[in-house]
Amino acid sequence: MTEALVPKLASSKAVLTGTAPDHSEGMSYLQTLPQRLLTIYLPLAIILMVLLFPFYWMALTAIKPDEQLLDLDRFSPFWTWNPTFKHIHQLLFETAYPRWLWNTMYVAISATVLSIAASVLAAYAIVRLRYRGAQWIGGAIFLAYLVPPSILFIPLSSVVFTYGLFDSPMALILTYPTILIPFSTWLLMGYFKTIPFELEECALIDGASRWQILTKIVLPLAVPGLISAFIFCFTLCWNEFIYALTFLSSTQNKTVPVAIVNEFVDGDIYRWGSLMAGALVGSLPLVILYAFFVEHYVSAMTGAVKE
């Protein structure tokens, strides 16, 4: 069933840089510059502005002094001439924010490493060992990918309670893989298929075991795929909300998204500065990671829908 749905996709590199088959140039002489301005650049500029405005607003609010935040008439709301780091300073030194950042990082990295280890083994077995029923298992994993957390969190909370994991980071480290494993298995299956199996045959003839083949031949060749899976899983963990909201209760165990929503929202009219600082600092690690690995990220995203 799943094989039928393999649309052809450009590689991530081509998507980003447009180096590979880029056909737009060929016929663009048919359009004059004013035409292009009106039909391409203008709509593009509007869409980009809408997409980026919330981040500009978030960053601006985080560094605006309080009195300027709420007085829209005396100060132009779109700019500030006297930025302050008060909110960010408060956030980092007067709240448990560093602790929440650490929790999020710890949970995200542990869950990602666990999931990728499990996925590598599973994907390799499905693609290359081709045991009896491998195709069915592949399909089942794709279906598991479609099970959303919003219908699982209630029974999972009772499972977590029964295993005595409630309010511990372990609850998240063990439940996040249910989201990550189907995704990364699916992604890695695609990568493993591209590795020539002649290499493995050679190794088999030389007497290598399956484990040696996996660690010495397949994994080194699949490094880009592993990075993609890692980055995407890490982002998914950072983004996860409903499990963290349900399974954690004490303030010091919370992850950044949950902590911001629950701990910063008090009646204080001046809370906006610190809220935005919290959102900004919480997004930065991901944005920085993304900036370094854009290509891998895009290949993970398109790879997820490709197979």
């Binding site: 039928a4 749905l5 996709l9 081509a14 998507v15 447009g18 088959p21 056909h23 016929m27 593009l44 869409i47 980009l48 997409l51 919330p54 981040f55 978030m58 935040l69 709420l70 829209l72 280890a117 499990a118 996925s119 083994l121 599973a122 077995a125 060992l129 045991y131 009896r132 994993i141 957390p149 919003s150 219908i151 699982l152 209630i154 999972l156 909370s157 009772s158 499972v159 063990l174 439940t175 249910t178 075991s209 399956r210 950072w238 909300f241 409903i242 909201l245 349900t246 950044v256 929503v261 906006w272 935005m276 919480g282 997004s283 991901l286 944005v287 854009v294 895009v298 995203m301 398109t302």
Partner: protein, 317 residues
């Protein structure tokens, strides 16, 4: 060297033990390779999925396992107007947001597929809304939608378009459109970038041939781009519909289902009933009620968009 040669020539073939046979048996080796992933997925995915359905037939509460009460939870929900309101909201949210995400995403993909300066940078920047955690960008939207200090109200007032502030999240329909907009904002980059990946594989000779035949831009789009993109559209929209239908984070941050349940989705309602009020059974019934809708949504976007392929009589391999 010579020693080695003599040794090997003398040695008899080793007896193949059962263990040796096992280590080269595909199914046996695969079993161990599959074990970690299978353990996770069975313990924390398949089992809870079944448990959820079972819980929906019990009167379980937090800290107390319930007893079987048959369809009572569902009968209760059938007469519950809040539940039906949440179903309506979820459907509205999913249909409107997915349709707009598709339209804008496809448009953005077509724009990005043009020959542009700073192409790589542009495409990387477009994805940022998708990688920033939903909760954190939702908080930015919360501030943008603030009843008193909303920048949108301020700008519109200064342009002379409205006289008073817009109450984005306080009014029922305003709140609905506001959360839908925030959802679209976050979903468009995903749709756009994945469709762009599909667009780049469409052969330029098709466009050239159509242009020579005198096709208009719309005709080119309608008869070349769209048909070529159909398979990838099917996949992307299935995912998009799925994640929109089960959305929780955005609503929880922006409105928590209010005002007067106007933005209550099935996911937020089940959280309120199950976790906040402790009625696990009833919450599980709401989650379980989502499953048929999800299956229907998946099937519709799947087969609806793959129809072309079926009509052409290609085998479904």
């Amino acid at each position: 060297m010579s020693d080695l040669a003599i040794n090997t020539s003398k040695s008899v073939p080793q007896r193949i033990t059962t263990w040796d046979r096992l280590t080269v048996n595909r199914n046996w080796v695969s079993f161990w390779f599959m074990l970690p992933a299978a353990a996770f997925l069975i313990l924390f995915l398949a089992y809870p999925l079944g448990l959820g359905v079972w819980l929906s037939f019990t009167d379980a509460r937090i800290g107390r396992s319930g007893i079987f009460i048959g369809l009572e939870n569902y009968e209760w929900l059938w007469d519950d107007s809040t539940f039906w309101l949440s179903v309506f909201n979820t459907l509205l949210y999913t249909v409107v947001a997915s349709a707009v995400k598709f339209a804008v995403g496809l448009y953005l993909a077509l724009l990005l597929n043009e020959n542009l300066p700073f192409k790589a940078l542009l495409r990387a920047v477009v994805l940022i809304p998708f990688i920033v955690p939903t909760v954190l960008s939702a908080i930015a939207f919360w501030w943008i939608y603030d009843a008193q200090f909303s920048i949108i109200s301020w700008s519109l007032r200064h342009l002379g378009l409205i006289s008073g502030n817009i109450d984005f999240l306080g009014d029922m329909w305003n709140a609905r459109w506001s959360v839908i907009f925030a959802n679209i904002w976050r979903g468009v980059p995903f749709v756009a970038i994945t469709l762009l990946a599909g667009l780049q594989t469409v052969s330029p000779s098709l466009y050239e041939a159509a242009t020579i035949d005198g096709a208009s831009r719309w005709q080119i789009f309608r008869h070349i781009t769209y048909p070529m993109l159909t398979p990838i559209i099917a996949v992307v929209m299935t995912f998009s519909v799925l994640f929109t239908f089960t959305d929780f984070q955005l609503i929880w941050v922006l409105t928590r289902g209010g005002p007067v349940n106007a933005t209550q989705l099935m996911a937020t309602l089940s959280y309120q009933r199950a976790i906040l009020s402790g009625q696990l059974g009833e919450g599980a019934a709401i989650s379980t009620a989502m499953i048929p809708f999800l299956l229907a949504a998946i099937l519709i976007s799947w087969f609806g968009l793959q129809r072309r392929k079926w009509q052409q009589g290609e085998s479904n391999d």
